[in-house]
């Protein structure tokens, strides 16, 4: 748990991250509980993530030079964006070169600590916590000029993939 040898900044960061982790889980739970149908909850959460993603990117790209190609934008998402949000980089990126990118994270931070009776149940329960991150990626790419749709899939907790499909005409 809390290591006694943390510096003040590390401790502050630890507290901030823990607060955010709990808030994030409760937010997803609340929205799913208070929505008439799960589709409504999913679209609400995705919109939330979308808006936050848009604003975060303004901040994260403030000092960066402009991106040359689309792939540079995707790489930015996989590296800096992922590291700032999820404390690590995406583990692998695949593309079919026709506008579909698959990002794999072997230990996705936001679902790492979840556990239920068995793996199947955990996977089912963890899915709702991936909607917000999908929205984040979608909003981030949208504001960088790459409109797309993003879907997440869990293989086994905490491993998951995010599939980005660029809107046609890109």
């Amino acid at each position: 748990c809390c290591s006694p040898v943390m510096t003040t900044t590390q401790r502050q960061r630890f507290v901030a991250e823990s607060c955010f982790d709990y808030l994030n889980l409760v937010m997803a739970d609340t929205i799913f509980e208070t929505s008439e149908r799960s589709e409504v909850a999913i679209s609400k959460m995705e919109l939330l993530g979308f808006r936050v993603g848009q604003k975060l990117i303004e901040k994260y790209t403030l000092d960066k030079l402009r991106f040359g190609e689309k792939i540079d934008i995707i790489k930015f998402i996989c590296r800096e964006f992922w590291t700032t949000l999820f404390q690590k980089q995406v583990d692998s990126l695949r593309t079919n070169r026709k506008g579909v990118y698959v990002l794999s994270d072997n230990k996705f931070h936001w679902i790492t600590s979840l556990s239920a009776e068995n793996a199947a149940k955990t996977k089912q329960l963890a899915e709702k916590y991936l909607v917000f991150p999908c929205g984040l990626i979608k909003g981030a790419l949208d504001v960088l000029g790459v409109p797309c749709s993003v879907k997440a899939e869990i293989t086994t907790v905490p491993q998951c993939t995010f599939t980005i499909t660029l809107k046609p005409g890109q």
Partner: protein
């Protein structure tokens, strides 16, 4: 005071903010800013291999009484600075100005109540921009 007008234009070339600091009719600056969007589009399209893509776009075009400078962010938001023809401001000063302007823009967009790509109506932003413009180049 050489800064005549400042504008922020959104991704779809929609005006988000326009502030004028001269006695000239505001419509004139709308026209100048609108015309500069074409120049920006041209500059942005020109992608030469290996060249670092700067956000600062330099002098876009000179008119009779003004010089127009441009800047584009990674999120495709354009910022335009119109200064009087007689100004002796150097490129470096203008670049520095745009960096400061960009930071003010970041502050206003980080506001959770601000809807991305909508008109900027924050009075705080307007007054911060005014002080920045009055400081000159």
């Amino acid at each position: 005071m050489s800064i005549a007008a400042l504008a922020v234009i959104g991704r779809q070339n929609n005006p988000l903010f326009l502030q004028t600091f001269s006695s000239d009719v505001g419509l004139k600056f709308h026209f100048i800013v609108h015309a500069s969007l074409d120049v920006i589009e041209e500059k942005v399209k020109k992608k030469s291999k290996g060249e670092k893509l700067e956000k600062y776009l330099g002098l876009l075009y000179p008119t009779e009484d003004f010089k127009v400078y441009g800047y584009i962010t990674n999120t495709l938001v354009k910022m335009i600075l119109v200064i009087s023809e007689s100004s002796t401001a150097k490129d470096l000063d203008i670049k520095y100005f745009f960096d400061k302007f960009h930071q003010l823009f970041l502050k206003v967009t980080s506001n959770p109540f601000y809807e991305t790509n909508s008109k900027i109506e924050s009075p705080r932003f307007a007054s911060a921009v005014e002080s920045l413009a009055l400081k000159g180049l």
